[in-house]
Amino acid sequence: MATSTGDGLADATGVAEHGASAPGMPQLNFDHWGNQIFWLIIALAAIYFILSRVALPRIGAVLAERAGTITNDIAAAEDLKQKAKDAEAAYDKALADARVEANKIVAETRAEIQADLDAATAKADAEIAAKAAEGEKAIAAIKADAITNIETVAKDTAAAIVAGLGFSADDAAVSKAVTSRMKG
């Protein structure tokens, strides 16, 4: 219907130059429907075959594999994170241990040095005390000597003086007088 009316109208209005086989609307030219439907069915069958046999299973497999890989990777990352945390804890512990050890060594060394120092001081003190005692003893001896000497000299001098003055006196009396005088 479209063909005949369209052609007639086209001829009448003078637009026939674009082909007699082209009625107003090519979509309504039912002579061509068979051709289009035939090729459409072939094209759809080809696409359906390509998609259902090859493309879709392949893409589905790739997507599933990727999802699996991502899950695995996340699990592995979680694992590694845990390991890193453990390692950090171990490091911290080792550091604390080392610090404690070092403190201990420092304290020990300090105590040792202190002990040595104390021993040396005591020894030196003892030596000094000994020396001082010796010195005092020597001084006492010298003092005693000196006193004895002075007594002798005083006795002699007294005897001499007494003799000089024309008195006679025995040595014992002079000595006794000098001694009592010297004692004061």
Binding site: L9, T13, G24, M25
Partner: protein
Amino acid sequence: MEGDLAHIGAGLAAIGSGAAAIGVGNVAGNFLAGALRNPSAAASQTATLFIGIAFAEALGIFAFLVALLLMFAV
């Protein structure tokens, strides 16, 4: 003279395209208003939006088809 009347009819049928435009605008505008009130629900309703637009637009396309038939097939 017959052709001229067909052209007038085609022009009248083209008014239907404008009516379809109002319909599509209504759908899209209401969707936007709803989406701005509850943006989190908007993404899940885009399919409904397109279906609504498609139904509204189909009637405009029918008007266009009537115009074409009047122009070329009557």
